[in-house]
Symmetry: C2
Subunit: 143 residues, 2 copies
């Protein structure tokens, strides 16, 4: 039975995932799990649709938002537009995290340091950027 | 003092946000807050850098992943590549949620229904797609 659409319980209530298309699941899992510390939570194969989904994150999907990696059997390389920016993850020691990642061969885009500008409320996070195997930008924020 | 980079505590531990660049913050907040039920958690102005950040989501950033909307004062329209796919949110009654959103004038991309294909493990979510004001795709999943 469909709920009354005026009822607030009809509203979405949880951010489930951000979906990224990737060219090589093993390569992506090495990056997101081995390097970034996520876990593969589930994997679904859709041979009829010629794609596989891998859900990766820091904890259970019921309470955490995760990344959905989509591997399409037949696609070529993907393009990066200018709209989507990045995914940010929290680190407790950004210098140590950055050193660990770059020693593993992860591509660095920006060394750790304060944001270029300070917000009018005084906020100025310490950040770094690395690149995933498909060229998506990952921000590290010391928190 | 920098930690030993071999220590697992160096790994990132939380997915903070997904960043999307938008052309009109008020228009985006009407979509994500009024229609999708998120809340604006904080806003930071960086007049020197000529941008404003708005963090929106379903709960506190310490335990939830959120969306970072970036408004750059000077940018033109953004392009959508083929790599980034969408952001998915959970709804308890997808027919009611979809009806509510479309009655609000939200652009529908796919009506509610089961995924086109069934996974080999039997998974076949009931999904719908709508479009945000900048053309980003938002998936509704009944969960």
């Amino acid at each position: 039975m469909t709920k009354n659409i005026e009822d607030a319980s009809v509203l979405p209530y949880h951010m489930l995932h951000t979906m990224l298309r990737v060219r090589d699941l093993d390569r992506s899992l090495a990056f997101y799990c081995d390097a970034l510390g996520m876990h593969e939570l589930r994997r679904e194969d859709y041979p009829e649709g010629r794609f596989t989904l891998s859900f990766i994150g820091y904890g259970d999907e019921a309470t955490n938002s995760v990344i959905e990696l989509t591997y399409n059997y037949d696609d070529e390389d993907y393009s990066h537009g200018t709209g989507f920016g990045h995914i940010a993850v929290a680190v407790s020691d950004i210098d140590a995290a950055f050193e660990r990642l770059t020693r593993m061969g992860i591509k660095a885009l920006r060394k750790p340091g304060p944001m270029t500008y300070t917000a009018t409320n005084g906020q100025r996070d310490v950040i770094a950027f690395v690149e995933d195997p498909d060229g998506y930008r990952i921000e590290l924020i010391e928190a």
